[in-house]
């Protein structure tokens, strides 16, 4: 296993670093992480971040299951995941160290707050002696400091109440980290001033702690061990990028589509982990024509969104696993009435309540088939926190242009993760031309279709001359009247299918990365993009004829899918489930034998495990062939 990458070890100079901060959930870890992310992005680095919340709301202090973590992968080259192995751990207490240690390769940096290793903390973490002093960490670069005490002193000096010290420790640590990363304090200070402008006392305490941390690092002569060259291709001009969490990117994508399509946006949801962030964040965007509605349950949420679509808006609803199951029946109504509706499902580990805070890709078959009758619809999947924006936008685009419901699959990992989003990405979004019944259509009938796309024409109240009545009963072709006619039913089932299949013609073709022909093609979808890409790149760079194709359009599949698959000797479908896409592709392409690689642990793939898995599928003697790549 020694030949596997440990992120930065094998590279000539350090170009990417994985930092992990961990402590009690009350320690302000996520806030410090967010500031650090902003500062890093500002400096022009690529960043991908991932929080790791405890399942409990407020777990007891110092407990193992109460550890809250924040991980940031920062790089001066492209990076794809929040990172497998930790280069720098900042541990606020013993439990934090205990939980993270297995992910820290020897030789890496551990920065620990001595004050978090008192006997009570040690006991809660299950340590019988203090690992900071008992030799446990001999093979690491250990830096300890009495951070709590130092923060208290710093506040005293700055004339701020020292009772704020405990809550300011995170800023002291942030100051140290900024020093280590050679990042400036300016941006962070500005952010703190803005954020706490109504509570100047807190702003002052935070800033004092921040500066003290920085100064302390300088004083104890910490080096700048984490200096990275700037990222070549990144724009550091503020205003040209932002940090996007997956939930934010979803909201922005929907809003961008709403602006482009010039139709009102109606968003309805019922809180459920991990999708709730979308609902919560949406609440900041109320406007004349943006409505956000917290419904009494998931069924009401989708039903109100269907009503909104009928009334001329983009109806959107979001949920997670069990809530998705509850929406099944109403989603069937949207299929039957052919209304433009978007459903975002932030998948989590199932079945049933499962592990609500953990990630998984196991709602795919539900998205495709979880309704009574033949009820086809469009299924998309985003693959990075930032491109949640693109696919949310595409979801609205396809819904409005094809007048049909669309399911967008994301997951716990995407929704909580964050990365840079470039303003330029927004410029690349395609136009949206809603398929609205124009006034020059004579004799409007609700199920008259565009002969090309088979989309029906959308008309809504109070349009004149286009009143119609639709519903869940089978309807007569064209007129939309209730019909029990056998042939009509057969025809309508086919039409609904063909309309969805036609979307194949308008979506981008499937792309392969790295080898586009050769021995092994790795197929993935959703949030595994980063890990698969990193693993494939590693093996490709080692000379293997390995390619990566990631599906963002799952139903219908891009029309070149089969063609791409046929270019490889072996194909493996990698998923965080028990083989759902594998099953779909296997049925779709009967001749081919598809392998699968699956993990159902509620956590993402690690780059290393994928490399190992793929390596087993590759013929050893094939390598090393030198590609014309830069490695």
């Amino acid at each position: 296993m020694s030949q596997l990458p440990s992120n930065s070890a094998k590279e000539p100079s350090i170009t990417r670093i994985v930092l992990h901060i961990a402590g009690d959930s009350g320690d302000g870890i996520q806030f410090a992480g967010k500031q650090l992310t902003i500062a890093s992005a500002q400096r022009g680095y690529a960043v991908i971040t991932m929080p790791n919340f405890p399942a409990e709301i407020r777990a007891p202090k110092g407990s193992l299951y109460g550890v809250s973590g924040f991980q940031m992968h920062v790089g001066s080259t492209d990076i794809y995941t929040p990172g497998d192995a930790i280069d720098v751990l900042v541990a606020f207490n013993a439990a934090a160290l205990k939980k993270a240690l297995p992910d820290i390769p020897e030789g890496k940096i551990i920065l620990a707050d001595e004050d978090g290793f008192n006997p009570s903390n040690l006991k809660k973490a299950g340590y019988s002696s203090n690992p900071l002093v008992d030799g446990t960490l001999d093979n690491y670069q250990l830096i300890t400091a009495p951070i709590s005490k130092l923060t208290r002193q710093a506040l005293l000096q700055a004339g701020v109440q020292s009772k704020l010290a405990q809550r300011s420790r995170n800023m002291f640590v942030l100051g140290m980290i900024l020093w280590m990363f050679d990042l400036s304090l300016e941006e962070t200070i500005a952010q703190l001033q803005q954020r706490f402008k109504d509570v100047p006392e807190i702003a002052q305490a935070n800033i004092a702690a921040l500066k003290a941390g920085w100064n302390y690092a300088e004083t104890v002569e910490l080096l700048h061990p984490l200096q990275l060259p700037p990222h070549n291709n990144e724009n550091t001009n503020a205003g040209q990028y932002t940090i996007a969490h997956g939930y934010e990117a979803c909201v922005w994508g929907l809003l961008a589509a709403h602006k482009e399509a010039k139709r009102p946006l109606f968003f309805a949801s019922y809180p459920i982990t991990p999708s709730s962030d979308i609902l919560q964040y949406f609440g900041n965007f109320l406007s004349e024509d943006v409505e956000v509605f917290q419904a009494e349950d998931e069924i009401a949420a989708i039903s109100s969104a269907i009503g909104a679509s009928f009334a001329g808006a983009i109806g959107v609803t979001s949920t997670s696993g069990p809530g998705f199951a509850l929406k099944s029946e109403a989603l069937g109504l949207a299929v039957m009435t052919e209304l433009p509706l978007v459903l975002i499902d932030a998948q989590r580990a199932g079945p049933s309540t499962g592990m609500p805070t953990k990630t998984e890709q196991s709602d795919l078959l539900q998205a495709l088939y979880g309704r009574n009758g033949e009820a086809p619809l469009i299924v998309l999947a985003a693959s990075t926190p930032a491109n949640c924006l693109d696919y949310a936008y595409w979801a609205v685009k396809l819904a409005l242009e094809h007048i049909t419901p669309v399911v967008l699959l994301i997951d716990a990992y995407l929704i909580m993760g964050a990365q840079r989003l470039e303003a330029s990405a927004l410029k690349k979004l395609p136009p949206i031309i809603p398929h609205i019944a124009s006034d020059d259509i004579a004799n409007y009938a609700p199920y008259k279709r565009n002969p090309n796309t088979l989309a029906r024409y959308w008309a809504y109240p109070p349009m004149k001359g286009k009143m119609h009545r639709i519903g869940g009963l089978e309807k007569e072709d064209v007129t939309g009247h209730v019909s029990y006619d056998p042939e009509n039913h057969h025809k309508m089932v086919q039409l609904r299918r063909q309309k969805v299949e036609h979307v194949r013609q308008v979506i981008p073709p499937l792309q392969t990365e790295f080898a586009d022909t050769g021995e092994l093609l790795v197929i993935g979808w959703g949030s595994t993009y980063g890990s698969i890409k990193a693993a494939v790149q590693y093996l490709y760079d080692k000379g293997h004829a390995i390619g990566h194709a990631h599906l963002h359009f799952i139903h219908p599949l891009p029309k070149n899918t089969e063609q791409i698959l046929r270019k490889f000797d072996k194909i493996v479908v990698c998923e965080l489930n028990d083989g759902q896409l594998h099953r779909v592709l296997q049925a779709e392409f009967p001749g081919m034998k598809l392998r699968k690689y699956n993990k159902i642990q509620g956590i993402p793939f690690k780059e290393r495990e994928l490399i190992e898995a793929f390596q087993k599928m590759l013929t050893p003697e094939h390598s090393p062939i030198q590609h014309n790549s830069s490695s």
Partner: protein, 329 residues
């Protein structure tokens, strides 16, 4: 009531397919008349329904119509109304649709006081699925799913909606065209959720269950028509009336010419729902008319006010404003 528009203009060209003799025909006519009386262009009306015999109604009226799924019409209607508060949104539902599978949405719409008009066809039976007991069926009723008699005590619709602080609640007999027409118009004019409970005879599966209170001959003794500001008096001789009894109400009978002074005068606007609640607990006589009509902010009014009040959130930073919201900063 304006008579300028012929109510037939509000009927669609679809064959009406209820059973012969069903009250639904009368209700449909009353509804079309009410629409005509309101004097709005038909495309301003959206009629949303669930599933059931009653819920077939949208096909028969010449407006925008959405025949939804079982029990969800109030939720669907909420979406319609929020997108365009200028629309007149009607919910057509049955006792099964609103009070079995749809209890949630029905009561939550009422709680929010969203300005939709719910016409609840209460026939105390599941009609469309051919005669199983419903949550309003009486005890001991034999139905296809209670061959030995129903053992589930019924909901009092009125008490339930008052428990959710309904701002407009009326009850009408399904065979009284004029009364229904008028009440439907009042429901439409009311700002907030209006619930109109229609005692609808299902001649096929639950025939005659309301006859004592809807039949001309018997109703005079068993029905109490109420009107704002008028005393609660009924009976052929007008010698029966309603008085207080603790926090409840009870009927009394008198011999003298003048009614006793304790007879309660109807006030549809009492803020405390306790009075209207007490009215709904009366069963003999059964109360008809507008039981409660109060003004409280509607959901869409609160939403509009919130949007006006609220400054742009600090969470929305410049990047988003410029790129997504397309604001000129």
């Amino acid at each position: 009531m304006s008579r300028t528009v012929d109510y037939k203009a509000f009927l669609s060209d679809q064959d009406v397919r209820w059973c012969p003799g069903c009250d639904d025909y009368i209700i449909l006519r009353a509804f079309a008349r009410a629409l005509a009386a309101l004097g709005l262009p038909p495309e301003r009306h959206v009629v949303v329904s669930g599933i059931g015999c009653a819920s077939r109604l949208p096909y028969y009226v010449n407006t925008y119509g959405l025949h939804g799924i079982h029990g969800r019409a109030p939720a669907i209607a909420t979406g319609v109304k929020m997108v365009n508060p200028d629309l007149y949104v009607w919910v057509i539902t049955g006792d099964g649709d609103a009070l079995a599978i749809g209890t949630n949405h029905f009561l939550h719409a009422i709680r929010r006081n969203i300005d939709i008009n719910i016409l609840l066809f209460n026939n105390e039976i599941y009609g469309l699925t051919k005669g199983q007991f419903s949550p309003t069926s009486r005890l001991d009723l034999k139905t296809r799913s209670s061959p030995q008699g129903n053992i589930q005590p019924p909901f009092h619709i009125g008490s339930l909606v008052l428990g959710a602080d309904v701002s407009f609640y009326a009850r009408v007999p399904g065979n009284d065209l004029n009364a229904m027409t008028q009440v439907f118009v009042e429901a439409a004019r009311h700002k907030g959720t209006s619930v109109v409970e229609i005692l609808q005879n299902c001649p096929v599966f639950n025939d005659g269950v309301f006859h004592p209170v809807t039949d001309k001959n018997t109703a005079v003794e068993h029905a109490l028509w109420i009107e704002h500001g008028r005393p609660l008096i009924y009976g052929k001789d007008r010698k029966q009336g309603i008085v207080r009894d603790g926090c409840g109400l009870r009927p009394i009978h008198w011999e003298s010419e003048q009614p006793p002074s304790e007879v309660v005068v109807h006030d549809e606007k009492v803020d405390n729902p306790a009075y209207a609640f007490a009215l709904t607990q009366l069963s003999d006589p059964t109360v008809f008319g507008i039981i409660r009509r109060i003004r409280r902010p509607t959901y869409e009014e609160r939403s509009r006010a919130l949007k006006q009040k609220v400054a742009q959130s600090a969470v929305v930073h410049d990047f988003i404003r410029k790129t997504i919201l397309q604001e000129n900063l």
